[in-house]
């Protein structure tokens, strides 16, 4: 089995957002979730490019929905995480867990107090 794919930070967040949104994961909702839960304002261009890249790497798939009147008769593009995408998420979480095991990240205030 090949090594699990590496994830960039934005890619990581995107995959999580898609998973979270389940069936309702399309461009607009993904952006909203990122803004609301991760406090990340992603530009439209960056969003589309990253989603494109994820799809190109086989980590997500996309499909077009029905044309909607509220979108000027244009369809939504829905996303779904693939098995390979899930693998990547697992491996990234494991890496984080490995790195932070048995360690408490100190509060920022503690750094300030140590200053001369």
């Amino acid at each position: 089995m090949p090594e699990a794919p590496y994830l960039g930070e934005l890619e990581h967040l995107l995959l999580l957002a898609i998973l979270q949104l389940e069936d309702e994961a399309y461009t607009v909702s993904i952006r909203r979730v990122l803004a609301a839960k991760a406090h990340r304002a992603v530009t439209r261009g960056a969003l589309y490019t990253s989603l494109d890249r994820l799809e190109g790497r086989g980590l997500v798939t996309s499909r077009l929905g029905e044309p909607l009147a509220m979108r000027g008769g244009r369809p939504r593009r829905y996303f779904e995480v693939t098995a390979r995408g899930l693998e990547a998420l697992h491996s990234a979480r494991a890496a984080l867990a490995n790195l932070s095991r048995g360690m408490e990240i100190p509060e920022a205030a503690s750094l300030r107090s140590r200053r001369p």
Binding site: T27, V28, R44, G45, Y48, R71, R74, P75
Partner: protein
């Protein structure tokens, strides 16, 4: 958001987003827009929408730039990375230039001057020689001539029969049209007037490619004999004489005393050839169509698409040979030549005149270039340290040279607008110098101006000149040992010897170039002056001239023509203030001519052998007296030389000397032989008169003979009237009235003083003389500036040395002499070389151009003196500054 903005945004997004995302993106925007509108109101939502669009477009632009650079990158970053280096160098050069605004300004102005004068001469050559005809088909139009190598004149008209044969046989042309000069007398309605017209064949208008503004143009159907009394008016004539009436079409007007139907009006601005005002149909009578030995037609051909001039020439040569074999007498020695229209119709003298001016302009540019070279050379001495540092840090020499050349090229580019300004100014001056009346005789004059071609040419000129002038200084500046230069710190007791010598050489070069240009411009100005005011063989002052042409219908027979002149001379003679009046068939200096083959009685000329062609003038008895042409031997014509009396002639001195031993011609006989079968009567020479200058270019002091009008009546009598008071123009109205008393419908053209006529004839030369004068003064100014700046520079460099000299006891006079001697040596060498060049140039000018002026020692001395005085004056300032050196200060400086 309104409709078009939305469409525009959708289009923009379509361009910026890859196709699979296009629909989604637009849909997303719509969906979020609705949301925004709900939350923050419609106007905020609109703002948001626009902002989003902008973001998408900017992102796309950024991406495409990145893609582009990454795809070009492999080529950019090979080896020395030429492109990046070039941009870097341009930046460096711009910075370097910004640090020396004074130098940049001087170089730019000098360059602009040099390039500007060249641009204006280029523009003149372009407009007048290369493409003088603004005709729709100009690039495919050719001119066909019958050319006899034995004849002196390059252009030969074509006989009707040959033209018709060509038209039938030639396959290289879509159209083959012919036209004939038609100096037409318009009568009826208002004042009678002469207008310039041409009788054209049916294919003429199709050949040049114009369409009628009104009615129709002359077509093939109008060529048939008997149906050819139709005319087309020029827009100008239609407006001026016929009040732009649309119902003029179909009306009958009287031209040359005959009725002609107006069939159309040409489009505005169309006046080919020669500002024609009227075009009639050329319908040859059956006899005329068979004429092969009288040549009056100008033939133009529209090349078939894809046919070259060369192919057309090959075909026409063949046709010419066949016709020569079939009609060996009429077509003897005749060959067919095909030229481009511009070349075929060009004034023979024009190209060589323009070449002269262009050569003068090039000299100015050369001198300007030497000046700039010198300046850059001096400058590079100051930059020695910088250059040495670059070389020491490992810059290749080629790179430093390139850097310096680039700086110059940038200055060249920057000088283009100023150069165009110079060119425009020069053209305005030239245009103003040319009398409006004469512009029609200069094809293409109207097109003189600044256009796209000129801008391109000027830019190329400026770039090439700027690069060339910087090469020597750049190469020179980099030829140094960084070790030494850095240690010296750019300062030394005396400037580098080699560089100094080079600078001196450049100044010598300038002097050597200025002198020939000055001599040439002196020759041209003096020549132009003499054309108009020099000895003409007659006395122009105080003479009024007037030209007429009798319509063939009313003056068909010799008696009527004779009677007209009789009555005209009689009437004019009675006008108060007229000292004397005479008549001549062709006025001097009009550029017109009429020649006849003559046979000298007793000469060995075998029958049919080539007879000499000599210019003929038909005159009245008092013509010589009125013009004050001296009668050298025998007598002038008298009233007794009538039709019934013995036929007589008067010959010019040159003719007498050419044909009779010792010029003893009185009592000798000769005759005109138009047709070998029916030679004219023998003419007895009764007098010899002085030579006159008829044409400054080709028929100066040419042999000429005169016959009395009563024995040889003419249709084209011109009047010369000498005023008793000395002011000929005051007689104008009275003389015209006298003419109208003789014939109410007879218009007079060109009523003007003989001096005015001469001035008109030489106006072009005066313009050229003036241009050469301006070029000469520019060159002189540039050279003086060049010498001045060199000396000033040398003096500033030698301050230390001069300080030592003065400290050691040299007085001011000595120091002054030191500097002046240097200037003197440069000048002497330059003048010596320049004199040689000037002689060569003057010889070329004498031969090719005027012939009126030869290089007189007087003129050379004057020019050299002018040069010496101005340059000495220029060198006195720096020399005096040298004497004011305070040794104490100068010595401490180093």
């Amino acid at each position: 958001m309104n409709g078009w903005e939305r469409r525009f945004v959708e289009w923009l997004i379509g361009r910026s987003v890859a196709s699979p995302w296009r629909e989604t993106t637009l849909g997303d925007l719509d969906e979020e827009y609705a949301d925004e509108a709900l939350r923050r109101g419609p106007s905020a939502a609109r703002r948001w929408y626009r902002w989003q669009t902008l973001g998408l477009v900017a992102g796309a632009a950024r991406r495409s730039v990145r893609d582009l650079t990454s795809s070009v990158a492999p080529f950019l970053y090979v080896g020395d990375r030429p492109m990046r280096t070039l941009f870097q160098e341009i930046r460096t050069a711009t910075r370097a230039l910004a640090h020396q605004p004074g130098l940049v300004l001087v170089v730019m102005l000098t360059l602009a001057l040099g390039v500007g004068v060249n641009a204006s001469t280029f523009s003149m050559i372009d407009a007048l020689v290369l493409r003088p005809y603004a005709l729709p088909n100009a690039d495919r139009l050719t001119m066909l001539t019958e050319y006899a190598p034995a004849d002196e004149e390059r252009q030969q008209s074509v006989s009707p029969a040959n033209y018709y044969d060509w038209r039938r046989q030639a396959a290289s042309f879509d159209r083959l049209a012919a036209f004939e000069w038609w100096w037409a007398n318009l009568a009826g309605g208002s004042e009678p007037e002469h207008v310039l017209g041409f009788q054209v064949t049916g294919e003429f208008f199709d050949a040049v490619g114009v369409r009628p503004a009104l009615g129709r143009l002359i077509g093939p159907a109008d060529e048939s004999w008997g149906h050819d009394h139709v005319v087309v008016l020029s827009d100008e004539l239609w407006q001026r004489r016929f009040g732009a009436r649309a119902d003029i079409i179909g009306e009958t007007i009287r031209v040359e005393g005959e009725p002609y139907v107006v069939i159309g009006v040409a489009p505005p601005g169309f006046d080919f050839p020669m500002r024609a005002a009227l075009w009639g149909a050329y319908g040859a009578s059956p006899e005329r169509a068979k004429t092969r030995d009288s040549r009056s037609l100008t033939v133009i051909g529209l090349l078939k698409a894809g046919t070259t001039l060369h192919q057309a020439q090959a075909e026409m040569s063949l046709i010419g040979r066949t016709l020569r074999e079939r009609y060996p007498v009429a077509n003897r020695q005749r060959e067919v030549q095909v030229y481009t229209l511009a070349y075929g119709l060009m004034d023979i003298g024009l190209p060589s005149i323009l070449e002269l001016v262009q050569a003068g302009a090039l000299f100015v540019l050369l001198i300007a270039g030497l000046n700039i070279s010198n300046l850059l050379l001096a400058r590079s001495t100051d930059r020695q340290r910088e250059i040495a540092l670059r070389l020491a840090l490992g810059a290749g020499r080629a790179r430093v040279v390139r850097q310096l050349v680039l700086e110059s090229a940038l200055m060249g580019l920057a000088s283009v607008p100023a150069a165009l300004g110079c060119a425009w100014l020069a053209m305005q001056l030239v245009k103003q110098a040319m009398p409006a009346r004469l512009e029609r005789y200069v094809e293409g004059w109207q097109q003189l101006g600044v256009d796209g071609r000129l801008v391109v040419a000027t830019t190329i000129f400026a770039l090439v000149a700027a690069v060339l002038v910087s090469l020597i200084p750049a190469v020179r500046a980099t030829r140094l040992d960084p070790n030494i230069s850095l240690r010296e710190g750019g300062r030394s007791a005396t400037a580098g010897r080699g560089r100094h010598r080079l600078q001196s050489l450049l100044v010598v070069g300038e002097m050597a170039l200025v002198l020939p240009l000055l001599v040439a411009s002196a020759l041209a100005t003096v020549g132009a002056e003499r054309f108009g005011h020099g000895p003409q063989g007659y006395e122009a002052a105080g003479v009024l001239t007037l030209q007429t042409a009798l319509p063939a219908v009313t003056y068909a027979d010799a008696a009527a023509q004779r009677q007209f002149t009789d009555r005209l001379l009689d009437q004019v003679g009675r006008v108060p203030g007229v000292a004397s009046a005479g008549m001549v068939s062709i006025l001097p200096a009009t550029g017109q001519n009429s020649s006849r083959p003559i046979e000298i009685d007793g000469s060995a000329a075998a029958h049919g052998q080539d007879l000499p062609m000599l210019p003929l003038r038909i005159t009245s008895a008092r013509y010589f007296e009125t013009m004050r042409i001296p009668v050298l031997q025998g007598r002038a014509f008298t009233e007794a030389d009538r039709e019934a009396a013995e036929p007589v002639a008067i010959v010019s001195r040159a003719m007498a000397q050419q044909f009779w031993l010792g010029g003893a011609s009185v009592g000798q006989r000769f005759r005109m032989v138009q047709d070998p079968k029916t030679p004219g009567p023998w003419l007895t020479v009764v007098g010899v008169v002085g030579d006159t200058v008829d044409d400054w270019f080709s028929r100066r002091n040419a042999p000429m003979f005169y016959v009395p009008y009563r024995q040889f009546p003419t249709m084209h009598p011109a009047l010369v009237v000498r005023s008793a008071s000395g002011d000929p123009t005051a007689l104008g109205a009275a003389v015209l009235q006298a003419l109208h008393q003789v014939d109410r419908d007879e218009p007079a053209s060109d009523v003007m003083s003989m001096e005015q006529l001469l001035r008109d004839k030489t106006a072009g030369l005066v313009v050229v003389g003036g241009m050469m004068g301006v070029l000469g003064s520019l060159a002189l100014a540039l050279a003086v500036v060049g010498l001045y700046s060199l000396l000033a520079y040398v003096v500033s460099r030698r301050r230390h040395e001069i300080g030592i000299r003065m400290a050691l006891g040299a007085d001011r006079g000595r120091v002054l002499r030191l500097t002046l001697r240097q200037a003197g040596v440069l000048m002497a060498v330059g003048i010596a070389i320049g004199l040689g060049l000037a002689m060569l140039l003057a010889k070329a000018m004498e031969g090719a151009l005027f012939g009126v002026v030869t290089l007189e020692p007087r003129m050379v001395v004057a020019v050299v003196l002018a040069l010496v005085v101005t340059t000495l004056a220029a060198s006195v300032v720096p020399a005096r500054r040298a004497t004011q050196t305070d040794p104490a200060v100068a010595l401490r400086e180093i």
